[in-house]
Symmetry: C2
Subunit: 485 residues, 2 copies
């Protein structure tokens, strides 16, 4: 029998009023460090340790019996697998637990004995209707508004991106890399593990109605062997989603599926079925690359935020008219090759429009074509004027190729930056998308320039290709939603 969806809201999973960690050890110190960093009320954090009296300044209890209160929203369970079942039985007999995060790894993904352990836990949970569980084999929760995180390196500010990941490490990488690379911020994130109780479909359903969330990223490895209806359910939920779902599957190749079996122990799913699911639902498929997932999330997040800030319904592009602005013939040719292969149009300026551009800038070198090649002009007012005249409703996507500047204090740079801000304002006033292409290499001044652009809300990509592939996802979603510009 599959367990019925409980009335208990997942809100208490992400924002637990109190938490019990059983048991804490130096190896899992990161849990406590995460709570400390997020500013969780430590009066509501209870630790059990068989060895320590105090851990990072927090009192430890020796046994479950010493804990003075009777019920917990969240229990983080980190014990050896051979005592896992007994510990669950014991704790549940003594305390009321709403959610259990089973951190313990080496169960269903590891061997037959582990599969049996999972089956037993499932049975125990089925007999305890008020208790739900995530895991085993997962890192658990990150919710800045709930002041809960499992790593101290995660940002304390919240955002509108939710994660449901069947890999703790990818979950951590997603938060860590995207927050540092692009200032991305998150609402409700979960590393869900082997899914012996709470399923991805349930969390999706919940997040679909969560006002804090606009985007849900899923990393999926497979359907749990113990829940035969989850596939059907997942399809139904994906169909009903009114929020953007970016869905990345691991184990897409046969060899990859072999790897899945040693990871979350899920049944591998076939590519052809998934193609059909992606065709039937508004879900956006993401290739097996954490960088692509970050790229797409980043662009979507920025795009959606722009409309939300103006209190407008988000509308997506479907056309692919791109303009490249740069100072380099060679780079422009490579860009043209890449964009053409990806299916972009690169409209040329003609007739009156071209006349106007020539009037603004009677060029002697460079080109008033597309790419718009404007050498020696970037700090000049005419640069902004040309861009404003060139970018109109016929252009959907502007990629401006910038160099890193070594001198960020001089007038030349300041004038250039003013031009960039002017171009951004113009592009956004047309509801179009501007990205800055800035090559990636270790350099202090580049990093400063990058941070400056980041903080001023510019969208940044290290290559034309990555920017363009991300924009294609906007148009893909636009077509699926049919809510287009």
């Amino acid at each position: 029998m599959e367990k019925q969806n409980e009335v208990v809201s997942f809100e208490r999973l992400y924002k637990p009023k109190n938490v019990l960690i059983y048991k804490i050890s130096p190896k899992t110190a990161f849990f406590v460090q995460g709570f400390l960093r997020q500013g969780y009320n430590l009066e509501n954090l209870y630790l059990v340790s068989t060895r320590e009296d105090e851990f990072l300044g927090i009192k430890c209890y020796r046994t479950i019996d010493d804990i003075p209160i009777d019920s917990f929203d969240l229990l983080i369970l980190s014990v050896r697998r051979d005592i896992l079942i007994n510990n669950i039985i014991e704790i549940l007999s003594k305390k009321k637990i709403v959610f259990i995060h089973i951190f313990t790894a080496g169960t269903g993904e590891f061997d037959e004995e582990g599969v049996n352990i999972e089956r037993s836990i499932k049975e125990i949970l089925e007999k305890t209707p008020g208790t739900r569980s995530i895991g085993p084999n997962c890192m658990g929760l990150y919710c800045p508004q709930g002041k809960i995180a499992y790593y101290s390196s995660f940002p304390t500010e919240s955002g509108d991106i939710a994660l449901i990941f069947q890999s703790g490490d990818l979950h951590s990488k997603m938060v860590k890399i995207s927050s540092r690379r692009h200032n991305l911020r998150f609402s409700k994130c979960i590393s869900i593990g082997n899914c012996i109780d709470i399923q991805i479909s349930e969390l999706l359903e919940y997040l679909n109605h969560d006002i804090e969330t606009n985007i849900v990223c899923v990393y999926f490895e497979g359907l749990p062997a113990l829940y035969r209806n989850e596939g059907k359910r997942l399809l139904q939920v994906l169909k009903s989603m009114n929020k953007l779902v970016l869905f990345m599957r691991g184990g897409r190749t046969m060899r990859g599926q072999k790897a899945v079996l040693t990871h979350t122990g899920s049944l591998a799913s076939r590519d052809v079925i998934w193609k059909a699911i992606f065709n039937q639902t508004p879900t956006i498929e993401v290739p097996p690359s954490i960088n692509e997932l970050i790229d797409y999330t980043y662009l979507f997040s920025n795009y959606i935020q722009r409309f939300k800030h103006l209190n407008r319904t988000v509308k997506y592009p479907i056309r692919k008219n791109a303009l490249v602005v740069l100072w380099s013939g060679g780079f422009g040719i490579l860009a043209t090759d890449v964009l053409t292969k990806l299916g972009f149009n690169m409209p040329l300026f003609e007739g009156k429009k071209l006349e106007k551009l020539k009037e603004i800038y009677p060029i002697k070198i460079g080109s008033l074509a597309n790419p718009l090649d404007l050498p020696w002009l970037t700090s000049d007012e005419v640069y902004l004027k040309i861009c404003i005249a060139a970018i109109d409703d016929n252009i959907d996507f502007v990629m401006l190729v910038s160099d890193a500047w070594s001198d960020l204090e001089g007038d030349r740079f300041k004038n250039y930056y003013k031009n960039l801000l002017g171009i951004k304002a113009h592009v956004e006033s047309l509801d179009k998308t501007l990205v800055i292409i800035l090559s990636d290499y270790p350099s202090e001044s580049r990093q400063k320039f990058y941070a400056m652009l980041n903080n001023d809300g510019f969208i940044l990509f290290p290559s034309i290709e990555r920017a363009a592939k991300s924009f294609l996802k906007l148009t893909e979603y636009g077509k699926k939603r049919n809510m287009t510009l």
Copy 2:
């Protein structure tokens, strides 16, 4: 009539004994700054300026007549295009010039009048057998051993990589990004422009016998309209190359070819012909992406250097047996998907070998498969032991996925780093290739760790995909050369 190859060695182009810049202006200050940075003997640098008496501390002459010496190895010509022809005639009538770098842009790539200017210059040069020219429309030369560069940001140390680029900006990007990202260093680099005299084929022929060069990277846009035999010649030279040539073509799509016409004004070349050329020659084709060119150059350069340092003939892999070492099931699954799609084998450990691995590490979590998933072990001696036992002649390519460490001083990190050095020594003793996969995001500690690894000769890539695609190029070259491991 095409010009005969002159006896004058290109050595004097890259290492000119004296240089005349005609004329210097604030806009082209970077030329002088490049010479200053490289430590060129300023007694041999002559400047002509109609306005300044001194430029960056160097005396300026008012006219060509004021210059006290009669012959120059290199003239850098930077004048308006409408006086270009007259200036060349005047200078050549008064001074002996071995090489002219025509910096002036806006000629053949710009309009019909520009094409005529180029034709006239070609005729003048044909009547002056001792004088050869690069350009117009190019940035010119960078040769650390010749103490010559056109940007002050280029490294002063020399290396074994030569560049021949038909785009000044891509040329600059290649040097700047790859030197900062990977410590790449160069021998003889040239931004060659519209090629009205010296052709790519001539430079390739020269570099093929240049003892300072091991790798030649070419960025090619098209054959010059004025040299009908250059295509045939280029094919012959590419066939005869005994040095690695990494060849990137721009303008491969029809739309890209349109862009070429506004850049170097070259005749666009068809894809099918190029496929045949790449099949018939040992040339390695590079897709239109500066990042891919840098990735490949980086891996090849490291690979070749390793053999050169041991005074051994370079031998390349042809087999594609990869091992991934990591601490993350999810990342391992994505890696497996990517590697399988790229055609790699990921051998599993079996029989005695597996027994041995189990003996070293009786795992409870993680996996002794491939990816080799070793959680909680990275700072432990057993980590090194497992890797040494796992990596044998059956593995060609090892990708070790590392996290950035926040604390680079503690014992845990030091032990980890010792493990990395041990694995590197082991892999290299087998003539195999190890790369470290380190995700890319702004972080001071990550940058320090990256620099540390870079300086210790580790090969670093930001993703499995980029590392794997680069390794494939080694095997492609191995097959072409048939000098394989």
